[in-house]
C-alpha cells in the first residue's frame, strides 16, 4: 500500500463518483463525502510508516513515497496533524454545504482541492507546492460563478493575482535552493526575501494586492466565498510556514518577523478601515476577514512556538466563523437579491436564527470578548512584541488590533441596525429545514461555549504545529 496515493488519488475517484451520484441523492452524497474526509483524517493519524499495517489480522506493507514523473511525494510522520487539520476542516466545510448547496460541482471541487493541498504537503522539494496551490485556486474559482452569480470579475482577478504570486514563489524557490544555509553575503538574500514577500502578498491579498477580495465577496455565492477565505487561505499559510520551517536562514532572520508584524498591522488597519465605508454586507465581511488575517500574521510575528500555535488556532477559528457566516448569509441573502445596506431592512425579523448566527460569526471574526476567537486575540494582543528586542511590547500592532476590533463592531452595527428595524410587512418564513435550524443554533451555542472554554479546541488545533519541527521544537 502506498500512503501518499491514498491521500492523492482516492479523493479524485471519490470526487468523480460524487459528481455522478449528486443529482440523484444530494444529501446522501454530501454525507458520504463528509465520512470519507473524516476517514482520511483518521487514516493519516493511524497509518504506520516503515512497518506493516495490520488490517483484520493481515499485515499490509506501507510505503511512504510515491514517485511520479521524476519527483517524489513523501508522507513524513510530522505532517500527520496537518493532514488531520485539513481533512477535518474539509469535512466541516462539506457538512456545511448540506445547508446551502444545490451546486453539483461543489463536492467534487472540495475533494479535489483537499487532494491538491495534501499534495502540496507531500511534494519534494516542497518549493513546487505553489503549483498545487495554484491549481486549487483554479478549481475553487469554478465555484465563484454560477447562473445566479454570472459576473466572473472577482474570479478573473483572483486567478490573475494568483498566477503572479505563484510565479514569484517559483522564482524565489529557484534562488533558495542555491542557498539552503545562510550565505556569508546577506545581499544575496534580499531579492529572495522580496520575491517571497511579493508572492505571498499576492496570494494572501495583502494590501495593495487585495483588489480581488471585494470583487469575489461581491459577485460570488456566499458559501463559496467562505470556502476561499478559509480553506485556500489556510493552505497558503501552511505553505508559508513550510518555507519558514524548511530554511534556517528564513526563520532565524529577524527581518522576516518584522515583515509579518508590518503586514499584520497593515492588514488590520486597512481591512477594518475599508469595512467601515462599505455599503454592501458581503464586501464588509470580506474586509473584516482581511483584518482577521492580519491578526493571524501578528501571531506569526511572535517568534517561537507560541506564535505558530496561536496562528493555527486563529486560522481554525477563522475557518469556523467563515463557515457559519457562509451558511447564514446564504439564507439572509436569497439568490440574486441585493445585500446593499438599504435592502436589508427587516431581515432579522424574517430570518432570526440566520441573522443571529451571521452577526455572531462577524463579531467572532473581529474578536469580540465572550466569543470563541477572543482568547486567541487576547493572547496575540498580550504577546506581540518588537522583533528587534523580544519582550518589549510593540505599541503599533497592539493599537492596530484594538482599532480593528472597534472598527469591526461599528461596521457590523451599521448593517445590523437596519436589519433589526421593524419592516413594513413582516414576513416570517421557516428558515430552511429542521437540520438547518439545528445546525445554526448549535453554531450559535458553540460561539459562546468555545469562548468560555477555549481549552476544548485550542490544544487539538495547536498540535498541528508539530508539523514544523524547526519552528516548534518538540
Amino acid at each position: 500500500m502506498n500512503a501518499p496515493a491514498i491521500f492523492l488519488i482516492t479523493p479524485g475517484l471519490v470526487a468523480f463518483a460524487a459528481y455522478g451520484f449528486f443529482p440523484r441523492r444530494p444529501r446522501l452524497t454530501i454525507f458520504l463525502a463528509v465520512l470519507y474526509s473524516v476517514f482520511l483524517g483518521f487514516t493519516a493519524s493511524a497509518i504506520p510508516l516503515g512497518a506493516p499495517w495490520i488490517i483484520l489480522g493481515h499485515p499490509l506493507p506501507v510505503s511512504n513515497t510515491l514517485s511520479f514523473l521524476g519527483r517524489s511525494f513523501t508522507f513524513n510522520p510530522e505532517v500527520r496533524p496537518v493532514i488531520m487539520f485539513l481533512c477535518l476542516g474539509a469535512a466541516a466545510l462539506l457538512a456545511g454545504s448540506m445547508a446551502v448547496s444545490s451546486n453539483r460541482i461543489l463536492i467534487p471541487v472540495l475533494l479535489l482541492v483537499l487532494s491538491l493541498l495534501l499534495a502540496s504537503l507531500f511534494i519534494q522539494p516542497f518549493l513546487y507546492a505553489s503549483f498545487f496551490l495554484f491549481l486549487s485556486v483554479v478549481l475553487l474559482s469554478l465555484l465563484l460563478s454560477d447562473a445566479s452569480h454570472p459576473s466572473p470579475r472577482g474570479a478573473v482577478r483572483w486567478i490573475s493575482y494568483s498566477v503572479l504570486g505563484t510565479l514569484f514563489l517559483l522564482l524565489a524557490g529557484s534562488g533558495i535552493s542555491l542557498y539552503s544555509n545562510l550565505p556569508a553575503d546577506p545581499a544575496k538574500l534580499e531579492p529572495i526575501l522580496i520575491q517571497l514577500c511579493l508572492g505571498f502578498g499576492l496570494l494572501l491579498s495583502f494590501p495593495p494586492f487585495h483588489f480581488w477580495l471585494p470583487e469575489v465577496s461581491d459577485d460570488s455565492p456566499p458559501y463559496s466565498v467562505s470556502l476561499v477565505l478559509s480553506l485556500y487561505v489556510g493552505g497558503v499559510i501552511f505553505i508559508l510556514l513550510r518555507f519558514l520551517d524548511g530554511f534556517s536562514w528564513l526563520h532565524q532572520s529577524s527581518s522576516v518577523y518584522l515583515v509579518f508584524l508590518l503586514a499584520g498591522s497593515g492588514m488590520c488597519v486597512v481591512g477594518s478601515s475599508l469595512s467601515l465605508v462599505q455599503s454592501r454586507l458581503g464586501r464588509c465581511v470580506g474586509y473584516l476577514s482581511l483584518s482577521n488575517l492580519g491578526v493571524v500574521f501578528l501571531s506569526l510575528s511572535i517568534s517561537g512556538p507560541i506564535g505558530v500555535m496561536g496562528g493555527l488556532v486563529l486560522l481554525a477559528l477563522r475557518g469556523l466563523s467563515l463557515l457559519i457566516w457562509g451558511i447564514s448569509f446564504h439564507t439572509l441573502r436569497p439568490k440574486q437579491a441585493s445585500d446593499h445596506i438599504a435592502d436589508l431592512r427587516g431581515r432579522a425579523f424574517s430570518n432570526p436564527v440566520a441573522f443571529s448566527a451571521a452577526l455572531l460569526s462577524g463579531l467572532s471574526l473581529v474578536g469580540i470578548p465572550g466569543l470563541f476567537s477572543f482568547p486567541a486575540f487576547w493572547a496575540v494582543l498580550r504577546s506581540v512584541s518588537d522583533p528587534g528586542s523580544p519582550g518589549s511590547p510593540a505599541v503599533f500592532p497592539q493599537l492596530a488590533i484594538l482599532f480593528s476590533m472597534a472598527a469591526g463592531i461599528i461596521s457590523l452595527y451599521r448593517f445590523a441596525r437596519p436589519m433589526m428595524q421593524v419592516p413594513l410587512a413582516i414576513s416570517i418564513s421557516r428558515e430552511g429545514g429542521r437540520l438547518f435550524r439545528a445546525l445554526l443554533l448549535l453554531s450559535i451555542l458553540s460561539f459562546f461555549l468555545l469562548g468560555i472554554f477555549p481549552q476544548i479546541l485550542a490544544p487539538w488545533v495547536s498540535r498541528a504545529a508539530s508539523a514544523f519541527p524547526n519552528l516548534v521544537p518538540q
Binding site: F68, G70, R71, P152, V163, S174, G175, L178, P191
Partner: protein
C-alpha cells in the same frame, strides 16, 4: 541555430504586436499562435526538441480551446469595432515595453539565475507584454491569453532553471487550466440568446 533564434525573435515580436493592438478575435488568436511558435523556436537554445515541441503544442491547444469557446458565442467573430486612438495607444504601450526592456535588460538576469541573453530578452519581453495586456482588458478570454503570454515568458526562462518532467507537466496543466476555467466562467456571463450551447 542563429537563424532559428532570429526567426523566433521575429515571430514573438510580430505575434505580440498584433495580439496587443488588435481587438479582433481571429487576428488575436492567429497572433498568439505565431508567438507560440516563436517561443518554441527560442526554447530550442536550452531545451531538447521534445520539450520545445510540447511548449508549442500547449500554446496551440490553448488557441484551439479559445477558438471553440468564441465560436460558440453567436457573435461577430471577426469584428469588434473601435476607433483609431485605442489601437494607437496599445501600440505605444508595446513600444514602451520593448524600449523599457532594452534599457533594463542588463539587470534582469539575476531574477532567473542568469540565463543566456537569447532567452532572457524574449522572456522579459513576453512578461512585460503579458502584464500590459492584463492591465488593459477585463474580458475573461483576453485575460486568459494575457496570462498565457506572461506564463510563456516565465516558462522560457524557467527552462534554464528547471527541466524536470513533473514541473514541465505542471506548467502545462497550469496554462490549460487557466484557459478552461476562464472559458467556463465567461460562459456564465454570456446572454442566453448569444450562447450557441446550453452550459
Amino acid at each position: 541555430m542563429v537563424w532559428i533564434i532570429l526567426a523566433g525573435y521575429l515571430l514573438i515580436l510580430i505575434g505580440s504586436l498584433i495580439f496587443t493592438v488588435t481587438r479582433s478575435w481571429i487576428y488575436a488568436l492567429t497572433a498568439f499562435s505565431i508567438q507560440t511558435l516563436g517561443v518554441g523556436l527560442l526554447a530550442l537554445q536550452i531545451a531538447p526538441i521534445p520539450v520545445a515541441t510540447a511548449k508549442c503544442i500547449v500554446g496551440w491547444l490553448a488557441v484551439t480551446i479559445l477558438a471553440i469557446t468564441i465560436s460558440r458565442e453567436k457573435k461577430d467573430f471577426l469584428r469588434d469595432p473601435e476607433g483609431l486612438i485605442a489601437p494607437l495607444f496599445r501600440m505605444a504601450l508595446w513600444i514602451l515595453v520593448f524600449s523599457s526592456l532594452v534599457v533594463l535588460f542588463p539587470g534582469l538576469g539575476g531574477f532567473f539565475q542568469n540565463p543566456p541573453a537569447g532567452i532572457l530578452l524574449p522572456s522579459g519581453f513576453l512578461l512585460g507584454i503579458g502584464l500590459v495586456n492584463l492591465g488593459i482588458s477585463e474580458h475573461p478570454l483576453r485575460v486568459s491569453l494575457s496570462l498565457l503570454s506572461l506564463l510563456q515568458g516565465f516558462e522560457l526562462s524557467y527552462l534554464w532553471v528547471e527541466q524536470s518532467l513533473l514541473v514541465l507537466a505542471l506548467l502545462a496543466v497550469m496554462d490549460l487550466s487557466i484557459l478552461v476555467v476562464l472559458s467556463i466562467l465567461h460562459s456564465y456571463n454570456i446572454p442566453v440568446e448569444n450562447s450557441g450551447i446550453a452550459l
